[in-house]
């Protein structure tokens, strides 16, 4: 086998599983270390550079980082990465104005129109304002925030946090036009903007066309529209018995909001078994903690109307044959009528672009959504860009933020008449963390502590109003223990083959047997020789050049390493060193510096 090329930033980036999994590539271990040192403001700012909304995301992020966390591979639960982000946001200095990007007073003369004041558009503006662009944001509603404001209930995301983080961007000098829906793309284009960004989300909740739908309309609600109506206080109550159709994260918000608007019993009706739910585990847990009943294997058949009023729903009871996690057959075993006062449909959402004329030269695909380039986020009409849920359908906030970063680069390239596909590479810097003979500037001692449990407001206090935040955040003690659970995956084990004297010290001290020295051969030979078998082939395998004395090679299975640094501590020649990997991801500003 040829030696691994660790100069490619992807190699070490992949080792930092959380950062690799995060769409915006937040440097998680670094901010956790900053929290550990009490530098909450630094941790916050560092988060903000990647994910723009740390306070918001620290509460409601979909957290792709946590399932990826290395900690979970030592037979434990992942580090509470998301909630630590909230710790940074909660405890930072209240005034961070001197840490925010400087906005030049002299503009570059380019005007950008952004449609929708949601997370995608705000990220684009956040990236372009410091470069000198003039950004105009058009928002149909009376307040900015998009889905973050309308679809996420305030008992999960307090308005104060939302307003504060949105204001950091709108205060950059954006021309924010509220109550200003865009009804014609053609007219907007005629206004002569240098580029247009569409960040209108996926605003159309899916319909369930069953018998009785129209007759019962007064008590049948579309989930996201209903949540929006609640957020703007148009809807203030709901019936005693509520059925939620669907088990996505919107369904979880709907059922918990219902409880706060006066519902006594809320049932979430699921068509399939639990393994097929779309909602995140933690959102399901939070709903169940509030005594929401989740009913599986019930497929909606019709709405029951009596005297012109909804009184219940009939469901088909279904049994499934499941093989290897896939449904291979289903059988209806019966029917049941479930009485209710209201039904909320939360079965998905679509993007909708009725306001974009089809004759302006923009190509639409067979689902009637614009064709968007996956790298540049440009539509087939040059100068018009899409991001967030508007680009490729419903995802989540953190993806919308990353789309915003990438679209901002494209808009900048477009306005400078540069090739949109000519993008800068990710840069990597490695710096040793050796402090003394056996001292490292990171906490390398493995802490077997279990994940800290988030404290919640007591159930008796929770339903009094809509705005009581359920999660209390970590206490100082909890945060202090939770940060120590981070394995510091960004402190990389860097091997210099020319220094190795083959004393075996690293192999013997490694607590996970992730190192092996073996004669070189093909991949099959090498895998056979590994001290601990390779169980995760998605994780990188490091292979060194042939060693001086015996011509053997050093092999490291990155899957198992816990970054304790003992190999480097026991290495007499510093052939192993612990080095911090710092990745620099290009942003719009990178291209202009």
């Amino acid at each position: 086998m040829k030696p691994t090329n660790t100069n490619n930033p992807d190699y070490f980036h992949k080792v930092v599983d959380c950062q690799w999994a995060c769409p915006a590539h937040t440097d998680v271990p670094e901010y956790i270390r900053k929290i550990a040192q009490g530098d909450f403001t630094d941790a916050y700012i560092q988060n903000r550079e990647s994910n723009v909304f740390p306070g918001i995301l620290g509460r409601v992020c979909d957290r792709p980082c946590e399932p990826a966390c290395r900690r979970a591979r030592t037979n434990e639960t992942p580090v509470a990465i998301c909630r630590l982000k909230r710790v940074a946001a909660d405890h930072r200095d209240s005034d961070i104005s001197d840490r925010l990007p400087l906005i030049p007073s002299k503009k570059n003369g380019k005007k950008i129109a952004l449609i929708g004041a949601g997370c995608a558009s705000l990220t684009v503006a956040n990236d372009l304002m410091p470069v000198g662009y003039e950004c105009t944001v058009f928002e149909a509603l009376a307040e900015p925030g998009g889905l973050m404001r309308t679809n996420i209930p305030s008992f999960r995301l307090p308005e104060k946090v939302l307003n504060e983080e949105i204001a950091y961007i709108t205060d950059m000098g954006i021309d924010l036009r509220l109550n200003h829906p865009i009804n014609s793309m053609k007219e907007l284009l005629a206004e002569g903007y240098d580029a247009v960004f569409v960040g209108t989300g996926a605003p159309k909740g899916k319909e369930l066309s069953l018998p009785g739908r129209e007759e019962g309309n007064a008590n049948i609600h579309i989930g996201i529209s209903w949540l929006e109506s609640v957020a703007f206080e148009h809807t203030k109550s709901i019936g005693k018995h509520v059925l939620i159709i669907g088990v996505g994260n919107t369904a979880m918000d709907c059922c918990r909001t219902s409880l706060r608007l006066g519902a006594d019993s809320v049932k979430v009706m699921a068509r399939k078994p639990r393994d097929f739910f779309k909602a995140s585990d933690w959102e399901l847990e939070d709903a169940e903690e509030e005594n929401v009943e989740i009913v599986v294997n019930h497929s909606p058949k019709e709405f029951v109307i009596e005297d012109g009023r909804l009184v219940g729903m009939i469901f088909k009871q279904v049994e499934y044959d499941i093989e290897h996690g896939r449904i291979v057959n289903q059988l209806t075993t019966g029917e049941i009528m479930v009485p209710c006062d209201d039904v909320i449909l939360a079965i998905g959402q679509d993007n909708a672009f009725p306001w974009i004329e089809r004759d302006i030269g923009m190509e639409f695909d067979r689902w009637d959504v614009p064709v968007v380039d996956e790298t540049t986020f440009e539509s087939t009409l040059p100068g018009v860009f899409f991001g967030g849920d508007a680009a490729f359908g419903p995802k989540n906030i953190i993806w919308a933020v990353e789309h915003g970063h990438q679209a901002a680069i494209s808009i900048h390239r477009h306005c400078q008449d540069e090739d949109l596909h000519d993008r800068l590479p990710v840069l990597m810097n490695l710096g040793s963390r050796k402090m003394g003979m056996h001292e490292w500037s990171y906490s390398n001692d493995f802490d077997p502590a279990a994940r800290r449990q988030m404290q919640h407001v007591e159930l008796s206090q929770r339903f009094k109003d809509l705005t009581t935040e359920v999660e209390l955040g970590f206490t100082a003690e909890q945060a202090q223990q939770e940060v120590e659970r981070c394995l510091n995956c960004d402190i990389q084990t860097v091997f210099t083959d020319a220094e190795c004297i083959e004393c075996d010290a690293c192999l013997d001290i490694c607590p996970t047997q992730c190192l092996t020295m073996t004669p070189n051969g093909d991949i099959g030979n090498i895998l056979e020789k590994l001290k601990a078998p390779r169980i995760n082939h998605d994780q990188p395998l490091f292979i060194s050049a042939e060693l001086k004395q015996t011509k053997r090679i050093m092999v490291k299975d990155e899957n198992l390493c816990i970054h304790c640094g003992l190999c480097a501590e026991r290495c007499p020649t510093a052939a192993w060193d612990m080095q911090k990997s710092l990745f620099e991801f290009p942003r719009a500003a990178t291209f202009s510096s």
């Binding site: 004297i501 004393c503 075996d504 996970t512 015996t550 198992l560 501590e569 026991r570």
Partner: protein, 351 residues
């Protein structure tokens, strides 16, 4: 050394041995030896050998004298009995422990200073009595603990770290042990894990005094150009005289081998040692030819390794002394101390 303890991580792939123990159950305390010390490597090999043999740690006594080498019993098998004795006096204490409880598996860890200088006499008598133990000499050619003076094992003409040339002829524990009538003599290298583990297993199971001289480079004081005990020198002059396979009693010998090119030695518990000759004509059971061979190779400057001499038939200490088959600690008080009447009778018989 390192400053944090090796964390205990549950690995999905970790295997248990026949008695349900993990390899980490055979580990010991945090090593305070220099990073890269050969001794730590030997410690890891000992852990592996005992784990593979499925020996319960509480059935083992580990003994040592003084020196870097003699610190190492603290770094393996925390669950075993242990005695860190006086400089060079490990064999005496081992003899006492063996006399008191012959059921314990006895492993002595000593160094070139401990065994070839201050404890040279003790070493000789352990060999002569064929004390049933594995006697490891972690041999680095220097006094590491006192900053790198030549030990008695340093080769004549080798160079110290500060530049001095050694003028004294070395004491070779291998040829010394053979000439004193040892029943098992082997040499290995801390950097050859595979061979070392096999020889450790053979030595543990050998019914008698198994002398295992292990070249174990001192990274701090004896791993430079001009040293004859460095990683580089040892690898450059490495010469395995035989290849040993240890076959536990339950298993059959499956490996095919050329007739006349291999010797099978059966140990008392039914386990077997399969010695494959790598140098043709080398016979590890023929004492005089072994001595001749070692002298020949020494003149060539080779570091000869492998199981160099074995005689599994030589009676060990308990057999020579015709002591009780039952370990002394298991005898009833009345048997150990039959009373004044029995003493009087014994004395009367001697008058």
């Amino acid at each position: 050394m390192s400053f944090i303890r090796k964390p205990k991580i549950d690995l999905p792939s970790e295997r248990q041995n026949e008695i349900g123990l993990l390899k980490r159950d055979y580990e010991g305390g945090l090593s305070t030896l220099c990073a890269g010390c050969g001794h730590d490597s030997i410690t890891a090999a000992i852990v592996q050998a005992f784990w593979e043999l499925s020996i319960p740690p509480e059935k083992v006594i580990k003994l040592s004298g003084i020196g870097c080498s003699s610190k190492t019993p603290a770094y393996f098998m925390s669950g075993a009995h242990g005695f860190n004795s006086v400089h060079g006096r490990m064999p005496s204490v081992a003899t006492g422990a063996q006399a008191g409880n012959r059921d314990l598996i006895c492993i002595g860890v000593s160094g070139d200073g401990d065994s070839l200088s201050i404890g040279f006499g003790q070493f000789g008598h352990a060999v002569r009595r064929n004390l049933n133990m594995l006697y490891i000499i972690e041999n680095n050619g220097v006094y590491g603990l006192t900053k790198g003076q030549f030990s008695a094992a340093a080769d004549k003409g080798s160079r110290a770290k500060r530049g001095d040339i050694n003028q004294w002829k070395n004491i070779d524990p291998v040829s010394t042990a053979i000439s004193m009538g040892s029943s098992f003599v082997a040499r290995s290298f801390s950097g050859d894990r595979e061979q070392l583990v096999t020889l450790l297993k053979a030595g543990i199971m050998h019914p008698g005094c198994a002398i295992l001289d292990v070249v174990s480079p001192c990274v701090t004081f004896n791993n430079h150009l001009g040293s004859t005990k460095s990683y580089t020198y040892t690898r450059d002059h490495y010469h395995p005289a035989s290849q040993t396979d240890f076959v536990p009693h339950a298993n059959e010998i499956r490996a095919s081998y050329e007739e006349g090119e291999s010797i099978i030695v059966e140990l008392h518990d039914g386990s077997k040692l399969l010695l494959k000759k790598t140098d043709s004509g080398y016979d590890a059971t023929n004492r005089s030819s072994v001595m001749r061979y070692l002298e020949q190779q020494r003149a060539r400057g080779e570091v000869v390794t492998g199981l160099l001499y074995i005689n599994a038939e030589l009676p060990e200490m308990h057999k020579i002394y015709r002591t009780s088959e039952t370990a002394m600690k298991d005898l009833e008080y009345e048997q150990l101390n039959p009373g004044s009447e029995a003493l009087a009778k014994l004395q009367a018989g001697m008058r």
